[in-house]
C-alpha cells in the first residue's frame, strides 16, 4: 500500500493541502437476514456501525451500498432513507456493503490543528536539549511522518509500516512545494493550495515511489 495520505499544514496550524492515495480501504459485502445483528446509527451524513461485528464488518464501518444501490447522504438513489429500509422486516434478506470510510475534510482540518499544537508541546516536554518536535508518530498499523521546515510549514505523510525512506520523500515534496507553489505568482502564503501543477507532479511522484 505504501503511502496513504499527504498533508501540508501552514505555520499557523491550518490545513492547506490534503491528498489521499486512491487505494481500496477494506470493503465487505454480505447478505443479512432479519434481525440485522448490527446496531447502526446516523452520524454526520453517514450510516455507521455503532455496535456489533459480523462477517468481518466492525464498529466504525459505514454503509456504502444497499442491494447494489449506492448509499449517499444516508439515502438510496430513490430518496428513501437507508435506516427506514432496514427497520422494515419485509425488506429482508438484504445485501449490504460496508466500508471503512476516510475522515471528512473538516475532521481532518481539526485533527491536524490538534497535531500542530501537540508538536509544540512535544518540544516543550522534551528531556533532551535542542530537540525538534514529533518527526515520526508510530501506531501499530501505520506511521505518521512530519517534517517541519525552518519557516514553520509542516509536511505530513501517513504511510503504512512497509514504506521506506519517507524522510527523503518529505524533502522531495518540500522541493515540489517550493517549485510549484511558492513560485506561483497567484498563490498567497498560508492559503489553501489550489495549484494544478503541484497536484499532478505530486501524484506522479508518489506513484513512482
Amino acid at each position: 500500500m505504501g503511502i496513504i495520505s499527504v498533508y501540508i499544514v501552514s505555520k499557523a496550524g491550518g490545513l492547506i493541502f490534503s491528498h489521499d492515495q486512491p487505494n481500496t480501504s477494506a470493503e465487505v459485502e454480505a447478505t443479512f437476514n432479519c434481525p440485522l445483528g448490527l446496531v447502526l446509527e446516523e452520524v454526520d451524513r453517514q450510516v455507521v456501525v455503532k455496535y456489533g461485528e459480523k462477517h468481518g464488518i466492525q464498529v466504525g464501518y459505514s454503509l456504502v451500498a444497499l442491494n447494489g444501490q449506492p448509499v449517499a447522504n444516508r439515502c438510496i438513489p430513490d430518496g428513501t432513507s437507508a435506516m427506514t429500509v432496514l427497520t422494515n422486516p419485509e425488506n429482508y434478506p438484504v445485501s449490504l456493503k460496508f466500508a471503512r470510510l476516510r475522515v471528512s475534510i473538516n475532521e481532518r482540518i481539526m485533527l491536524l490543528s490538534m497535531f500542530h499544537s501537540i508538536y509544540a508541546i512535544s518540544v516543550k516536554l522534551s528531556p533532551a536539549k535542542h530537540s525538534s518536535g514529533i518527526q515520526c508518530l508510530e501506531a501499530d498499523s501505520f506511521k505518521f511522518y512530519c517534517f517541519q521546515t525552518i519557516t514553520g510549514v509542516k509536511f505530513i505523510v501517513v504511510a503504512d509500516n512497509k514504506q521506506q525512506k519517507v524522510e527523503d520523500l518529505l524533502k522531495r515534496i518540500y522541493e515540489l512545494y517550493a517549485d510549484f507553489v511558492l513560485k506561483n505568482p497567484f498563490y498567497s502564503l498560508d492559503m489553501p493550495i489550489r495549484c494544478e501543477h503541484f497536484s499532478t507532479n505530486l501524484t506522479r511522484f508518489i506513484e513512482e515511489n
Partner: protein, 140 residues
Amino acid sequence: MTIYNLYIFDRNCSCLYYKEWTRQKEAGIPREEEFKLMYGMIFSLKSLISRLSIISAKEGLVGYTASNYKLHYFETPTGFKFVMNTDTSVGNVQDVLRHIYARIFVEYVVRNPVARPGEHVDSELFAAKLDDYIQDLSFK
C-alpha cells in the same frame, strides 16, 4: 541506550509515579503542570491515531520519535499508562514496558497492602526494583 525518564499514569489522569535518570532540559513549568500536559498530549495523540487510521487499530499509539529523543507508550487493559523517554538509538521497548508493568508494578504496587489505588506510589521497594531493572538495561 540512555533512558531519560518514566511516567506512570492511572486512568483518572493522576500521575502515580515519575522518575528521571538523566534529564538535560527541564520543561520550565512546575512538575504538576508537566504531568497534566504530558497526559493531555498522550490523550490527544491516541485520539488522533484512532480517528486517522483506516484499519481498526488494536494497539493504537506505540510512541513517537523526535530529533533528539523518543517517547514510548504502553497502556494496560486496566488503564495504566507507562510513558518512557529515551534517546533515539532505542528500538521497540514494548516488552520492556510490559515487564515493568507485569513484574515490577503489579508485584510491588498492586500487591502492596498499604498502597491504595489512585494514590501516589511511595513504596521504596518498588523504586529500588525499578531502578535495578533500568540500570541493567542501560548497560546492555
